[in-house]
C-alpha cells in the first residue's frame, strides 16, 4: 500500500444529508437533499412546493378589485411589485389610462420597496456570515422605510394601495418631506455599512469567489435581476421596456465590475444590491421633486374588463416579474399567471452548489435573494 504523505487526500465516503424544510440558514421552506464528500457538496436537489397555496386560482374566484390583496401576497416582502404587475396587466387588457401623478406615486412605492428588499437581503447575508452588528443596523434602517409605507397606505407590508387605474388615495401632506429625509438618512447609512461591513476582510474571505454565477448558467436558467447584473448581463426592465413613467427618469443601472473577486460571486451580488439602493435613492429624489399634479385615480367601476389578454413585466427587487392575464369579459379574471423570478433562480441552485463547501451553502443561498413564496405561489 503506497503511503504518500501529502499526495493522498483524506478519503471520506459519500454521506447524504437532508436539510429543511425548516432550517436556520435556508431562505425559506425548501428541502435540500445534499450528497457530501466530507465537507464538499457533490450534488444537491431542491424540493419545493411547501408554500404552494394556489394563489393564481384565488384570482379566478374573486372580482378584479378584491383580487388585489391577493396580488400583495405573491411576495409578501415586496407587496407593491405584485400589485403593480397585476394592475398594469389589467390596465393594458382593459385599456385604461393611468394619470401621471398615480404613475409617480407607483414609482415612489416600488423604489422604496426595492430599497427595503435589498436591505432585507443584506440582513440575510449578514446573518449567514455571522455579523450581528451590521444586521441590527440594517433592520433599524429598514424600519424607517416601513414607517413610510404605514404613513402613506396604512399597512406595513401588504399595502393594498394600488387600484386599477391609479392608486387608492393621494399622498398625505408630510409624506414627500419624510421620503426625502429617509433618502438622505439611507445615503449616510450606506457609507457606514461600507466602513463596517462591506470591505471587512472576514466578510471578503467568506464571499469572494464563492458561488460564482457564470453568464452561461444565467442564460441557461433564464435568471434576471441583480443576480444577472452582478455577472455583467445588462438587462433591466426599467430600461429595456419602461413602464409606469420610468422612461422620463434618467438613472443608470449598476453592473457587476468584478474588481474584488471574480465577476458574479456572492460579494458582487451583495455589492450590486447596495449600489441599486443608492440608485433607487436617486430615482426617489427625481420623482419626489417632479411629482406631477392632478388626480390620482381614473375611476373604473369594478364590474367587467373587456375580453382581452395582456403580458406585462416589471423589474422587481429579485428580477423580471411578469404577469400574463387573460380576461373573457367577466367580472373575475379568467386566468392570471405570474412569471416569478425566484422560480428561475431556484432552478439554478443544484448546479450552483456543486463543489461548494458546506459552510458556504447558506452564504450562497442568501446571496441569491430567493423568495420561496414567489416561487411556489
Amino acid at each position: 500500500m503506497s503511503f504518500s504523505l501529502f499526495g493522498e487526500r483524506l478519503k471520506t465516503d459519500v454521506t447524504n444529508w437532508e436539510v429543511g424544510p425548516y432550517h436556520l440558514s435556508l431562505p425559506g421552506p425548501i428541502r435540500l437533499s445534499l450528497k457530501l464528500d466530507g465537507e464538499v457538496i457533490i450534488s444537491g436537489e431542491v424540493e419545493t412546493g411547501f408554500l404552494h397555496r394556489g394563489l393564481e386560482k384565488c384570482f379566478e374566484l374573486h372580482s378584479w378589485k378584491s383580487a388585489i390583496p391577493y396580488a400583495d401576497r405573491l411576495d409578501p416582502e415586496a407587496a407593491v411589485f405584485g400589485e403593480l404587475v397585476y394592475c398594469l396587466a389589467v390596465e393594458e387588457a382593459a385599456n385604461t389610462l393611468v394619470p401621471p401623478r398615480a404613475q409617480a406615486i407607483r414609482i415612489i412605492l416600488s423604489e422604496l420597496t426595492r430599497i427595503s428588499c435589498h436591505l432585507a437581503n443584506a440582513v440575510r447575508i449578514a446573518r449567514a456570515v455571522g455579523a450581528e452588528t451590521v444586521l441590527h443596523y440594517l433592520l433599524r434602517d429598514r424600519e424607517k422605510i416601513i414607517d413610510l409605507f404605514e404613513l402613506l397606505t396604512g399597512a406595513r407590508f401588504s399595502l393594498n394601495f394600488l387600484r386599477i387605474g391609479g392608486v387608492r388615495a393621494d399622498v398625505t401632506e408630510g409624506f414627500i418631506e419624510r421620503v426625502l429625509d429617509v433618502c438622505d438618512l439611507i445615503r449616510v447609512r450606506l457609507k457606514e455599512y461600507n466602513d463596517l461591513f462591506t470591505f471587512n476582510h472576514a466578510f471578503l474571505k467568506r464571499t469572494i469567489n464563492v458561488g460564482v454565477l457564470s453568464p452561461a448558467l444565467i442564460k441557461k436558467y433564464g435568471m434576471t435581476g441583480p443576480n444577472a447584473r452582478a455577472s455583467g448581463i445588462n438587462a433591466d426592465v426599467r430600461k429595456d421596456r419602461p413602464y409606469s413613467g420610468y422612461e422620463i427618469l434618467d438613472f443608470e443601472v449598476p453592473l457587476g465590475r468584478g474588481e474584488g473577486g471574480t465577476l458574479g460571486d456572492a460579494h458582487e451580488r451583495f455589492l450590486i444590491r447596495l449600489r441599486e439602493v443608492s440608485q433607487s435613492i436617486e430615482i426617489l429624489k427625481q420623482v419626489t421633486e417632479g411629482l406631477p399634479l392632478g388626480e390620482y385615480l381614473t375611476p373604473t367601476e369594478d364590474k367587467a374588463v373587456p375580453e382581452g389578454e395582456a403580458y406585462v413585466r416589471v423589474e422587481s427587487s429579485r428580477g423580471l416579474l411578469g404577469c400574463h392575464l387573460m380576461s373573457l369579459g367577466g367580472t373575475a379574471p379568467h386566468r392570471v399567471q405570474f412569471r416569478a423570478p425566484s422560480g428561475f433562480h431556484l432552478q439554478a441552485v443544484p448546479e450552483l452548489i456543486t463543489g461548494l463547501k458546506l459552510e458556504d451553502l447558506s452564504v450562497v443561498l442568501a446571496s441569491l435573494d430567493l423568495s420561496i413564496s414567489e416561487a411556489d405561489r
Binding site: G49, G308, H324, M326, R335, Q337, R339, Q347
Partner: protein, 172 residues
C-alpha cells in the same frame, strides 16, 4: 427588423405549419398558432435559425378555454430585440384525463420548472421525443404528495378535506 419583416420571415420559414398569425395586445406582439405536434420542430427552428434567434423563453403560460388547454410560449430574441408568442392548443380526453403535449425542455431549459408546474396543476404530460410515453403518474413538486385531481382546471371541485384535515372551519 420590425413586425412585418418578422412576419414575412416566419411565413416562409414555417409556411404550412402556421394556423394563424395575428398581432396582439397594446405592444402589437406577433402571435403564431401552431399544431401541438409540430411544437418541437418549430421551437428548434425558431431558436437555431440565425435570422430568427429566439433563444430566450421568458414565460410559459397555460390557460383552459372551455375544455381545451392553450399553451403559449413567450419568446424573445435578444440580438434583434423582437418578441413572439408561440401558441398551441391540446385537448384532454375527458375532464379528469391527462392531456399530452410535447415538452420543450431541451430547446429552452429555463422553462423546465414552469412546465412541471403546469403539468401538475393542469394535468398535462409533457413528453420528450416523438411519441407520448405511457407515463401515468405525475411527480408532485407543488402539491402535497397524493393530491387527487388537477386544481387549476375550471371544473375542479375543491375537496372537503385532505389527509384528515378539514378545509372549511364550520360554524365560524
Amino acid at each position: 427588423m420590425d413586425i412585418i419583416e418578422l412576419k414575412k420571415r416566419l411565413t416562409e420559414a414555417l409556411s404550412e405549419k402556421i394556423l394563424e398569425l395575428a398581432q396582439l395586445g397594446k405592444g402589437r406582439v406577433l402571435s403564431v398558432w401552431v399544431e401541438a405536434k409540430h411544437i418541437n420542430e418549430v421551437a428548434l427552428l425558431l431558436r437555431n435559425e440565425s435570422y430568427l434567434g429566439f433563444s430566450v423563453l421568458e414565460n410559459f403560460f397555460v390557460a383552459q378555454l372551455d375544455s381545451a388547454f392553450l399553451l403559449s410560449y413567450y419568446l424573445r430574441a435578444p440580438k434583434t430585440g423582437m418578441e413572439l408568442i408561440l401558441r398551441a392548443s391540446i385537448v384532454p380526453p375527458n375532464p379528469e384525463g391527462l392531456a399530452k403535449a410535447p415538452s420543450i425542455r431541451e430547446v429552452w431549459p429555463m422553462a423546465e420548472h414552469q412546465e412541471r408546474e403546469s403539468a401538475e396543476l393542469f394535468g398535462i404530460i409533457f413528453y420528450l421525443g416523438l411519441s407520448p410515453a405511457d407515463k401515468k403518474e405525475i411527480k408532485h413538486s407543488f402539491l402535497p404528495p397524493g393530491w387527487q385531481g388537477f386544481p387549476f382546471r375550471k371544473e375542479y371541485k375543491f375537496p372537503e378535506s385532505f389527509s384528515g384535515i378539514q378545509h372549511q372551519r364550520d360554524g365560524l
